[in-house]
């Protein structure tokens, strides 16, 4: 499964940079001075034990929380305080830890909503000038159907998303995020609660999205398993601080990381 080509990373500036990010919830310091960058074209995994601040970091990247203090740069532009829907417009899509699909809508509609930002014709032109709206709808529909084919979910296109089993919901959510043709895709525990086969399916889709669509991917995972195989680089968080940053090989042999995961080894 490990098919990374190390030459894939571009030499340009990082796609996303986080500088000295702090995040406080009440009296709890969830993130304490984390700095990291995501290179264009890579798959970066953020791992760490429970409560390490991984999801908080994803929420900061997608604009749900704003770091204080701290700065977030995307393509070199400061976007620290941008609200989530503006962040989405910059080309950052995400999935959620506890699947946040539109449960009452069909799979097709869910993924169509993912293309919201690409649709130009608004309220009135679609209501009144039917022609233009229809032409656009067909164009986007084609892309969405392509994604559905690619994710191998043709058979459930018309099914309400809420009625699907968990593994498929996760896959549909991935499809919705990819429909936006994002520059950066944030995946919050995409394999949580899955069996091995489902995990491998998702791993395959993540690798394909990275290679075929050229999407930069940042994924958060709790356990190291599959993640180590598909990532170019791994960042390790523990108690809101970064304790490791390197290739999967380097991380595997890092003393601090081993200690955080396994506790008092060698004592």
């Amino acid at each position: 499964m490990a098919e990374q080509e190390t030459g894939r990373r571009s030499d340009g500036p990082p796609l996303l940079e986080a500088h000295n990010v702090h995040m406080m919830f009440g009296g709890l310091m969830a993130l304490h001075g984390v700095s990291l960058h995501i290179n264009k074209g890579e798959i970066l995994a953020i791992i760490g034990p429970n409560g390490a601040g991984k999801t908080t970091l994803i929420n900061i990247f997608s604009g749900v929380y704003h770091p204080n203090p701290g700065r977030i740069l995307f393509e070199g532009v400061d976007r620290t305080t941008m609200p989530p829907h503006h962040v989405a417009a910059l080309g950052i899509a995400r999935t959620f830890q506890n699947v946040a699909l539109f449960k009452g809508m069909s799979v097709l509609d869910n993924i169509m909503v993912g293309r919201h930002l690409h649709m130009k014709s608004g309220f009135f032109s679609q209501g009144l000038y039917w022609g233009l709206g229809q032409k656009e709808e067909i164009k986007h529909r084609e892309y969405v159907e392509w994604i559905i084919d690619w994710l191998e979910i043709e058979h459930i296109r018309k099914t309400p998303a809420g009625m699907l089993p968990y593994g498929l919901q996760k896959r549909v959510e991935l499809g919705r995020a990819l429909a936006a043709e994002p520059k950066l895709l944030l995946l919050d525990e995409p394999m949580a609660g899955m069996n091995l086969e489902e995990k491998e399916d998702i791993a395959r889709f993540v690798l394909d999205a990275n290679e075929e669509l050229g999407t930069t991917i940042c994924l958060v995972e709790h356990d190291m398993g599959v993640v180590m195989d598909i990532s170019d680089r791994v960042v390790v968080l523990d108690y809101g601080q970064k304790i490791g940053d390197g290739t999967p090989e380097e991380i595997r042999n890092d003393d601090r990381v081993i200690k955080a995961y396994l506790g008092s080894v060698g004592r």
Binding site: S62, V64, P83, P84, H85, A88, A89, A93, R94, F96, A100, L101, F102, K103, G104, M105, D109, M112, V113, G114, H116, L117, M119, S121, G122, F123, Q126, G127, G133, R176, A177, A180
Partner: protein, 296 residues
């Protein structure tokens, strides 16, 4: 049999009028999870503004347009000034805010336009069509037109929800705020649109009910008639609002005619609530509402 049909049809047509009011609730509940108690006050405010403008300043059609603009302004204003600062508070707080709003809007409407009763005449007589009388059905023309208008309104709303980009975004927002934001849907714009549409529905309902009852303070009490409709149909379903309205309308008329005589009459006024209570016992999320199952 003809008599039964007549009762049934006039009941269904009255039900359409209830649906009109219920629709306004459903719109707002779907998009923002707020049970907007002020919907009735919005209906009164719309009817009052429309009728007074047409009496004093302009022809009726112009008054309708101006009122529509005013309602969109009032509705989006409510959303922006009153409810937005309360986002993410418990539903009961939002509900209390809308009760306050209801009193405010009733007061404002009467402060501007006075408290006397107005009649609206939209030029459709409230008596049966001759060719229907010949077939033995006493069905009011006005009821038919009201049903037609409600039907068109519903068709437009359904088209909007199912086929347009904004409609799809609206459904997405009603399902999951966070996910909607993550795909780039601006919540505020969507909430503004929703309240604007609720304003439009209030205007249509206000004109239709105003024609029927006269435009006066008690118009805002028709929210109470919308409650059983919502309980029956489900708070978050447009289809539910329509079907619920029809069932309530038909059943209250039939109950009055066929059961009322047994107990001395007058059950029309409370029968819908009786039906509502039955539904709360056996199907609390309504016929078409989203079933919420909480696992313990």
């Amino acid at each position: 049999m003809a008599f039964f049909m007549e009762v049934l049809i006039s009941g269904l047509l009255a039900g359409v009028m209830y649906s009109l009011v219920a629709l306004g609730f459903v719109m707002i509940y779907k998009a923002s999870g707020v049970f907007n108690f002020a919907q009735g006050a919005m209906v009164l405010f719309a009817a009052l503004t429309c009728v007074c403008l047409s009496e004093r300043f302009m022809p009726f059609w112009a008054a309708c347009l101006v009122t529509l603009a005013a309602m969109v302004l009032v509705a989006t204003g409510i959303e922006g000034i009153v409810l937005r600062p309360l986002v993410a508070r418990p539903p009961i707080i939002l509900f209390m805010a809308t009760i306050g709003l209801a009193f405010f809007l009733e007061g404002l409407g009467q402060a501007i336009w006075g408290t006397e009763v107005h009649g609206i005449n939209i030029g459709i007589p409230d008596n049966p069509l001759p060719w229907l009388i010949q077939r033995g059905l006493m069905v009011s023309q006005f009821d038919l037109v009201a049903a037609l208008i409600a039907g068109v309104l519903v068709a437009v709303l359904v088209f909007f929800f199912q086929k347009t980009r904004t409609g799809r975004a609206l459904r997405a927002v009603s399902d999951d705020h966070e996910a909607a934001l993550s795909v780039g849907i601006p919540l505020r714009w969507i909430w503004g649109v929703t309240w604007g549409i609720a304003g439009l529905i209030a205007l249509v309902a206000g004109i239709m009910w105003g024609t029927r009852l006269g435009v006066q303070y008690s118009l805002s009490l028709i929210v109470l008639k919308a409650l059983p409709v919502l309980i029956l149909g489900g708070l978050d379903s447009i289809t539910g609002a329509i079907i619920g309205g029809l069932i309530i309308g038909a059943s209250e008329k039939l109950a009055e005619v066929y059961l009322g005589s047994l107990v001395g009459g007058g059950i029309e006024n409370f029968f819908p609530y009786l039906l509502g209570v039955l539904f709360l016992w056996f199907r609390p999320y309504g016929l078409f509402g989203r079933e919420i199952i909480e696992r313990v």
